[in-house]
Amino acid sequence: MFKFAAEKIEIEPLKKSLEDDRAGAVVCFEGIVRNHNEGKAVVALEYEAYETLGTTEAEKILAEARTNFGILNAVCVHRVGELKVGDMAVFVAVTSAHRHEAYQASRYIIDEIKTRLPIWKKETYASGSSSWVNCQHLNDSAACQSEASHGRK
């Protein structure tokens, strides 16, 4: 099960949904908003998602993980909206009979979520500037900034 969440991710109900007497391992990954990214002090960020396509793509990723690694189950939730430092941006939980498969599947899911899902992150820096992460042209970081955000040196 995958979903986007506009509010704080509550992990207990998600883990509860995975309970299974055959499960010997649960691996959970939490992606957290850090206070730094690439050397700049981050004070807040905003996630925007293309939710319909994003949900379809994420369900594909979870199905791939189940098929490829023989796990019991997997869930993932990704935040959208405004987040601050310390907030959870993404949560992945995987259950399996043995730990090796759970670790592998967890890593696969988060790696694919990060590269395949249509989600964008706008970071606001201590300087007051902001920038859409990863959307700059190679060797042209200016391409990444909105008009309002040229305060970044």
Binding site: T52, L53, T56, V90, P118, I119, N134, A143, S146
Partner: protein, 92 residues
Amino acid sequence: MEIAVNKGAEKVNVTVTVRYFAILKDQRGAASEQLSTEAASLAELYDSLATTHGFSLKQDQLRVAVNDSFVDWQEELSEGAHIVFIPPVAGG
């Protein structure tokens, strides 16, 4: 056959909806728009919009989706299509 060729050469306008996200939304100043276009492909449509609105991203930095599925840039435009240009993602 000749008729088909003539038809293909005619500039036929289709009406599509384009939805913008992230930096494209900021640069367009709108989350979506409906527009009538003569563009023969999604690639051509993006080029034309990028010129009009000054989008900083090159087409090869983007992916494109129609009606909530990823599609090829060379796909033709169909009447009523919902089009999304997808900037480089940064989830997680």
